[in-house]
């Protein structure tokens, strides 16, 4: 067991890349306390009262945006939402100008989702507020990896030594990159499975075992994480058909029989039923997909709380 850090070293959360194992441990432990708040009749604490958080979503998002909003509200922060349509962005304003404009209103944190990899990093260079990456292009989605780890911990009690299999569109997935970084850092054994057209280069160097065979990938796995096929990021020639994809890479009860008996199945959503996952699996006893959604709120509360300064935030 890795001892948790006492605080985060940075004021931004740009990616798992920047977090040490003790910092990850700190976030996960803090999330446990935050989850308890969600079980109370009055699900609200004054921790971030008077703090302003801007949710800047340049890309469509339902669960991540709502999850952040709920986390912010439960911590009593004042929140502002901005989406691309109907804002100055649709009038051609650049990302940096949008950020500078928002900064002039002195928010404490900016949660950003953007289609370009590295967009939060560019903001972090010019903004005084804390930047939280809610998903950037094909790069990282750190809070998703944290909530996935939290969900695994809840079910398995550990990450170290677990066999975690990630299946699907690895190439376009920020969830995959963040999960690989987090899980390998915490001592899990990560296997990945995808068609040859959807495997990014350099995964072996990160300690990921890549295979083309779903059965091989799933055999003995403690956790199977399915990724959505990101059709919107694909331009041609990646796959012959959805039918063939499901036949080769779709997770069915039959394939799952090769996994560990107490295997859990995860999906960051939104799911394409019948493409990457059979409904019998998605809705079956292995599935922890809705737990992931519930835990997302607690994990994001933990991140917001820690970036605001942890205990200092509450005492202010």
């Amino acid at each position: 067991m890795i001892a948790p850090a006492t605080a985060l070293r940075t004021r931004h959360l740009l990616g798992i890349q920047d977090l040490s194992a003790p910092e990850i441990q700190l976030i996960l432990q803090t999330a446990l306390a935050m989850k308890e708040i969600g079980t109370r009749p009055i699900k609200k604490v004054p921790t971030l009262r008077g703090r302003t958080i801007v949710n800047l979503f340049f890309e469509a998002s339902t669960r991540t945006r709502m999850s952040f909003e709920l986390a912010e509200k439960r911590l009593s922060a004042d929140t502002l939402g901005m989406t691309t349509s109907g804002s100055s962005v649709s009038k051609g304003e650049t990302l940096l100008d949008t950020a500078r404009t928002l900064e002039a209103m002195a928010p404490d944190m900016i949660v950003i989702r953007h289609g370009s990899s590295g967009a939060p990093h560019q903001l972090a260079r010019i903004c005084r507020s804390s930047i939280i990456n809610a998903g950037d292009g094909m790069h990282e989605h750190p809070t998703q990896a944290l909530l996935d780890a939290f969900t695994i911990l809840e079910r398995k009690g550990r990450l170290d030594g677990l066999k975690v299999t990630i299946v699907g569109d690895l190439l376009h997935s920020r969830v995959f990159r963040s999960n690989v970084l987090l899980l390998t850092r915490m001592g899990a054994e990560v296997r990945a499975c995808a068609p040859g057209t959807l495997v990014p280069l350099g995964m072996e160097a990160l300690g990921v075992h890549v295979t083309r065979s779903l059965r091989e990938a799933v055999t003995g796995a403690d956790v199977v994480m399915m990724l959505r096929l990101q059709l919107e990021r694909m331009r041609g020639l990646f796959l012959p058909s959805m039918r063939e994809y499901f036949a080769l890479f779709g997770l069915t009860p039959a394939v799952l029989e090769h996994a560990a008996p107490d295997v859990i199945v995860m999906h960051p959503g939104p799911m394409n039923r019948g493409v990457e996952i059979d409904s019998q699996v998605a809705d079956g006893p292995w599935s922890v997909i809705l737990d992931q959604v519930a835990n997302g709120v607690a994990v994001r509360m933990a991140v917001l709380y820690l970036l605001a300064g942890g205990e200092e935030a509450g005492e202010r």
Binding site: S117, R125, M138, G202, A205
Partner: protein
């Protein structure tokens, strides 16, 4: 007026000179290069010890942006940057607005260059009308107006057939076809070198093979036609292999490499907070094996030319998200210090070899005047202070572009002065003081 550079160290590989000579300049031309010349009424100039006089450096891959993109650069600012960087001549790419695909655009460029009166400008015309890859430009007309080569740079010469016809047709005028080698389908919407770094940064990749496939195609077509092809901004080790193989078969192919491709790798994208758009260029910064291969190609002579691919952009454009920002960096005012420090002082190439790469061979590749200090020829000279220390400061650039990944680098090797047609169009007061070389 006459000027006698007295007992100066001349490095001129084309003339076989590397030693102390007197260089007599009169009426803008070199009169004599010899030892022990009498002053005979000329103004005598002696240079500090260690300074070197070379034939004027020539950058054969420059984007001057005018006409049409004057917010990025003009011919006046671009040629000011050139002479400040030690270049007495530049060849400018045709991807302006409008494209340099007609004599009228070529004439406009030459007129603006003459008005600026700094570096010599050799326009490069387009291969195809509008660089659209469909119809050959009036190449004869372009050459008559002053174009020294043709290219669709920014884009590859789109089909093998167009390349064939361009080579066949251009060879009538003795000019080469320059190709931006890149298979468009493999490049796709890539923005960085396809490798482990781009994978982890979530950036779409451009594999080295995208370049090498086109280099191989062009060499095959050059062999078929007997035409002369010049590979622009080579970056991938597979391309170098194809180049060596083509040269060994006797194909008329030459190649250039840019300083950033032999000095930096894709790791630069992951450092300093990451996603620095001043590290975004096409071809992209590649991995260490490619960088090392480019160095080896410079050392062993397979690579003919160092060119900068000077590509100024406005700061607003480079401030966009990484995948939306334009490709390219400025290079005119950083190339000489980078090459002196990282190639010559690092012991990779000799000073003589560097002059070949920056002057002798660029002149030969495009059949340009210069590249040597010849008696009777215009006095285009570069004076180097190879041991002077310089720190790159982008805010001091003459170029409108500030897009460089080399800002803040301290390097050994400076340009002391640049002389075009006997005029000292640039004097670096930091190393030469206020001494004027003028009057010839």
């Amino acid at each position: 007026m006459k000027l006698l550079l007295k007992s100066v160290h001349v490095v001129d590989p084309a003339a076989g000179r590397n030693g102390e000579f007197d260089v007599l300049i009169a009426d803008g031309r070199v009169v004599r290069v010899d030892r022990n010349q009498p002053a005979d009424g000329a103004t005598v100039v002696e240079l500090p010890r260690g300074f070197v006089v070379t034939p004027g450096l020539i950058d054969i891959h420059v984007h001057l942006r005018e006409p049409g993109q004057e917010h990025k650069e003009t011919i006046a600012t671009g040629t000011a940057a050139a002479v400040a960087g030690g270049f007495t001549a530049v060849a400018c790419m045709p991807n302006t607005t409008p494209v340099n695909d007609s004599a009228s655009v070529t004439e406009f460029i030459l007129k603006r260059a003459a008005d600026a009166g700094l570096a010599r400008v050799y326009p490069i015309g387009a291969v195809s009308v509008g660089s659209k890859g469909e119809q050959l430009t009036e190449i004869g007309d372009l050459v008559k107006a002053g174009c020294v080569a043709i290219t669709d740079d920014g884009l590859p010469v789109q089909t093998a057939l167009l390349m064939r016809r361009a080579l066949e047709y251009a060879s009538m005028f003795g000019i080469p076809v320059i190709d931006h080698c890149e298979d468009p389908s493999l490049k796709g919407d890539g923005v960085a070198h396809e490798g482990a770094v781009a994978s982890m940064l979530g950036l779409k990749g451009i594999p080295g093979a995208a370049e090498a496939i086109m280099v191989e195609r062009d060499i095959s077509v050059a062999e078929l036609t007997g035409g002369r092809v010049h590979v622009a901004h080579m970056s991938a080790r597979q391309s170098l292999r194809a180049l060596r193989e083509g040269k060994s078969r006797g194909v008329a192919v030459t190649a250039e490499v840019c300083p950033h491709h032999f000095l930096l790798t894709d790791e630069a994208l992951a450092t300093g907070g990451g996603y620095d758009t001043n590290c975004k260029m096409n071809p992209p910064l590649r991995e260490e094996a490619d960088r090392a291969a480019m160095i080896e190609g410079l050392r062993d002579g397979s690579i003919d030319v160092i060119a900068t691919d000077h590509a100024p952009h406005h700061a607003d454009e480079k401030a966009l998200e990484f995948d939306r920002a334009p490709f390219g960096i400025v290079g005119l005012e950083t190339a000489v210090p980078l090459c002196l420090d990282r190639l010559v002082h690092a012991g990779i190439v000799s000073l003589t070899r560097l002059v070949e790469l920056l002057s002798t061979n660029p002149a030969r590749a495009l059949n340009l005047p210069g590249g040597t200090i010849a008696e009777g020829a215009p006095a285009d000279l570069t004076i180097l202070a190879p041991d002077a220390e310089v720190t790159i400061r982008k805010e001091t650039f003459r170029s409108k572009g500030r897009n460089t990944p080399f800002d803040g680098w301290t390097l050994r090797g400076a340009v002391a002065a640049t002389i075009v047609g006997g005029r000292d169009v640039y004097v670096n007061e930091d190393v030469l003081g206020r001494a004027s070389l003028a009057g010839a």
